[in-house]
Amino acid sequence: MSDAPALAGGLVCPVPLGSGGHVLLGHGSGGKLSAALLRERFLPRFGNPALAALGDAAVLENPGGRLVVSTDTFVVSPLEFPGGNIGTLAVHGTLNDLAMMGATPFALAAGFVLEEGLPFDLLDRVLDSMAAAARATGVPIVTGDTKVVERGKADGMFVNTTGLGVQHDDFRPAPDQARPGDAVIVSGPIGRHGMAVMAVREGLRFETTITSDTACLVPLTDALRAACGGGVRVLRDPTRGGVASVLNEIAQTSGVGIVLDEGALPVPDAVAAACAVLGLDPLYVANEGILVAVVAPEHADAALHTLRRHPLGSEAARIGTVAGGPRGLVQMRTAIGGRRIVDQLPGDQLPRIC
């Protein structure tokens, strides 16, 4: 980590950093407090050879092939929610962005902006989650950075992660590759992450607790690559803006139409109920653990079976078909046989009055 040189002399932290403490401005000073923060909280959790070298940057072997790089910044409030926290999101989100390009991730970098007063207990839980998420996928966090800002200047903590991956010749999905006749598949139930966060943020309680779907999608894309290879034309993870926004982008970029079947959309009962209460449409609600795949017609069944064999994809469903036109337009056959357009939203969905 770039704050690391302060550790070089094997300095001993004068202030014990036991549990129950808080992040102080001094933890971002580059001095002894910074070094102790790193040594006591970050390094033990993320330990790996590249990080342990403690240089200003990590040095990695080139695994060969085309390199794929993605970066994402995470600013969720609350920092913890049923099913995960900002740390799990930060690892899964960037790994998933690489996976959607057909890449196999091999390294992560992480940057932290910590707000003065952030409880160490909370920071530890986030770091534990990040370490566990990275370990589960076998992708090390090889370098990083921490900064501390004054109280009130960050919402507890912000996390940026950057991921590196390698793309393979036999598997290069891209947003402009959808063709008329292709199948549109989602790998699991929609709307869970957004509604889980909103329920906590707004203090809404429902009979069933909605948990975030946050998950690393690399196992699913690995399985799709093995089963369908180039038959997978487009992969997207429908995070902000939800499934509807991603499909609109695919329709526009590929110059095709998309027709959805409302009856086929996998919307969990609890998500449907929460959305009904708040006047929101689950198609626009964020997800963090599902993918949208556009698959050549002859591979559609194989893709669906492959996804369903994996625990993350057990509720995969074919939700629609790519059409020749109208270009850039996503239409839906409603459950009762009507039709409508599924447009992009001008901004966030706003809860309605009554």
């Binding site: 707004e202 809404l204 009856g263 009962d269 449907a272 109920a273 009904a276 708040l278 006047g279 036109g325 109208p326 337009l329 239409q331 409603t334 459950a335 009762i336 046989g337 009507g338 039709r339 409508r340 357009i341 447009d343 939203l345 001008p346 901004g347 969905q349 706003l350 809860p351 309605r352 009055i353 009554c354």
Partner: protein, 369 residues
């Protein structure tokens, strides 16, 4: 899921569509009063499915849409004050005032917060005695009990830093105004189910008799709407004009008596201006003198705020059913959800937004069934 899935059941919906088509011997014109119903109709494509037999005119029952421009301007003025925490239901945030909207006020430093219940605003006032907390009390009879409860609670707590900007409206006077209009085409109504949950339907009985129109209290899911339409069409075909209740799982004839009592205790009936429509006598609720201390207009001296509605916006014609949203010359051109000229293009319940977002005008021609 109980009370949701069965009202979205495709087989039931198809059976009701078939019933409407076989019952109607001519084309009837119905108005759904509530914006929530409008959204279900356009979102599910119900109007297209029954269009040959029944024309649906989209009524004025969107609280965001009918809140007058000068009341929005008052909200914007008070929300920008440094001592104020301005609280509102979410869908008021993007409604354009004369010059700006609440999201812009927030971006420039105004403390504007979305609440799900007006009691949350009272709680904010209790926890922030050093700030002035203002709640934007808009809506029909549906939101009136909760808003009345907030004022009552603040009164009980002796709060001196809580006030409400009231813009409440009531449904029956608006229906009367539509029926009295010389160019009225509405032959029957789907009454707003949630308004009737509070008020019951006794107020509608004299209307049905006097104007000889069927009125069916109707819910909000696709099967509710289709059943309400089928009931109204059956009445029209039989020459009946009664108040019937489709929304039996939520509405009783007498409504919710304790809620009505609370409304009557805090609010009194006043003349109210409706955006794009003008002033309708005895069509709104205002604070009773006993609760005048909670009136934000008086507290912040907002009485002088006056506004002129943009001429290009034909919201008034849309809200009383004289114009379909896409027939407005500004629709989709000067007026879009990103840059709305009027509230019906903003609110999730607005007819213009429904037409725009669900792309009614951009759908390719339907194939004959």
């Amino acid at each position: 899921m109980k009370y949701l899935a069965e009202y979205r059941d495709p087989a039931l919906a198809r059976a009701l569509i078939a019933r409407i088509k076989t019952t109607a011997t001519r084309r009837w014109v119905l108005m759904e009063v509530c914006g929530g119903q409008t959204h279900t109709i356009v979102r599910q494509g119900i109007d297209e499915l029954i269009g040959d037999q029944v024309e649906m005119i989209h009524g004025p029952g969107c609280p965001v849409c009918v809140t007058p421009l000068e009341q929005i301007d008052r909200a914007l003025a008070v929300a920008a004050r440094p001592e104020v925490i301005f609280t509102s239901f979410g869908d008021m945030l993007r409604v354009p005032g004369s010059h700006t909207d609440l999201l812009q006020v927030r971006a420039r430093g105004g403390d504007v917060r979305v609440v799900y219940s007006p009691l949350d605003a009272v709680d904010l006032a209790r926890r922030h005695p050093e700030r002035e907390v203002v709640f934007f009390a808009v809506g029909f009879e549906t939101t009136a009990p909760a808003n009345a409860m907030a004022v009552w609670r603040a009164h009980q707590l002796g709060l001196t830093n809580f006030s409400v900007l009231v813009s409440h409206v009531t449904v029956p006077p608006a229906m009367t105004a539509i029926l009295d209009s010389p160019d009225n085409r509405v032959q029957g109504f789907l009454a707003a189910g949630h308004v009737c949950t509070v008020m019951g339907w006794t107020e509608y009985e004299p209307l049905a008799v006097r104007y000889r129109v069927p009125i069916v209290v109707t819910g909000f899911e696709p099967v509710d709407i289709l059943e309400g339409i089928a009931m109204a069409v059956a009445q029209l075909e039989a020459g009946r004009h009664e108040v019937e209740n489709q929304y039996v799982r939520a509405v009783r004839r007498e409504g919710n008596r304790p809620a009505q009592a609370l409304i009557a205790q805090v609010f009194e009936i006043v003349d109210r201006q409706w955006r794009g429509v003008g002033t309708i006598p005895a069509s709104g609720l205002g604070l009773r003198p006993a609760f005048a201390a909670f009136d934000a207009v008086a507290r912040f001296g907002l009485g002088d705020v006056r506004a002129v509605e943009p001429a290009a916006c034909r919201a008034g014609d849309v809200l009383v059913g004289r114009l379909k949203p896409h027939e407005c010359p500004a629709f989709g051109r000067e007026c879009t959800p990103e840059h709305p000229l009027g509230a019906p293009m903003v609110s999730s319940e607005g007819a213009c937004a429904a037409y725009h977002n669900y792309g009614r005008t951009r759908l390719p021609a339907a194939h004959p069934a």
